[in-house]
């Protein structure tokens, strides 16, 4: 807790300690006002890894489409990840306003808009007599294209390299998963997609810790 007594301007000057105080304050400020990409990446990595593995396991065992239980688990995991993402982002950004927050809010609302169209496209494919295999492959591919492009725009909007790299990775995952065919597509989504999220979380975390050890440059 800060007090008036520590505010004397006559304190002895220690440039290194003062720069450290500035870096600490700014880290705390960013941690309190910006969503933590590592946490969100971790949550989505676990959801994809476990959810798509369940779909692959079920599809392989049944020799066709995954069963309802696997889809229920997959849906519950994605739903949990969505709730955690929204709650975390809202809590972190609460109490701030300005052009960057407005841009972030618009970017945030672009997600449900894109995924609102998603089931309509799938229904259209079904009405056009697309097979279950085609619908399954396209649903994974379309999800990857939406998520990948959203991450690319997020990376550009917030000048966030980690988010941009993630976008490229998810787009590549979508391509690979479609080429893999059924049921291997689910395994690609689990390992390359979910595993990719987790690998990027780890790299992101290591880079951040290393940058902190080297001393953050105040901005």
């Amino acid at each position: 807790m800060s007090t008036e007594s520590e505010s004397s301007p006559d304190r002895p000057l220690d440039p290194a300690a003062t720069l450290d105080l500035i870096a600490q304050s700014q880290r705390r400020a960013r941690a309190g006002t910006e969503p933590d990409g590592r946490l969100l990446c971790l949550v989505w990595g676990v959801a994809w890894l476990v959810g798509y593995t369940a779909l692959w396991w079920s599809a392989r065992a049944l020799g066709g489409a995954p069963d309802a239980l696997a889809f229920a688990l997959f849906g519950a995991l994605l739903g949990t990840a969505v709730v955690i993402t929204i709650v975390h982002a809202l809590r972190r950004t609460a109490g701030t306003r300005g052009p960057e927050r407005r841009a972030g809010a618009r970017w945030g609302t672009a997600w449900p808009m894109a995924f609102l169209v998603f089931p309509v496209v799938m229904a259209g494919l079904g009405r056009a007599d697309a097979s279950g295999e085609v619908v399954g492959l396209v649903s994974n591919a379309l999800a990857c294209v939406i998520i990948g492009v959203m991450y690319l725009t997020g990376g550009a909007l917030f000048d966030d390299t980690g988010l941009y790299v993630l976008g490229v990775w998810i787009l590549l995952t979508g391509g690979a998963a479609t080429l893999a065919g059924m049921p291997a597509t689910y395994l690609v989504m689990a390992t390359v997609g979910g595993g990719g999220f987790l690998a990027i979380t780890l790299v992101w975390h290591v880079l951040l810790v290393r940058r902190r050890r080297e001393g953050g440059v105040p901005s």
Binding site: S7, T18, L19, Q26, R28, A29, T33, G98, P218
Partner: protein, 99 residues
Amino acid sequence: MTELDTVIHAPARLRVVSTLAALSAGEEITFAKLQKLLDMTAGNLSTHLRKLEDAGYVRQTKEFAGRRPVTYLALTSDGRRAFEDYTTTLQDLLRGAGS
């Protein structure tokens, strides 16, 4: 010794200014959120904010969210420049001490 801005140099005000400078230009933060980030009492924070406002470094905007008063805070362009000058001076001093 190189002159340092005494308004910013006091540790409590340095933490306030550093925190506000971490927000992008044009962004504002509520008094309550800033108080939470800095872990200061409301009275202590108000005192330091008044000194920073008197120096022209901080801008306060008072509004109502429904019936609840909300104070938004941001660094002014003078405040952001003063903070940048302050950190540059510190880095110069550190480089001078190391050479």
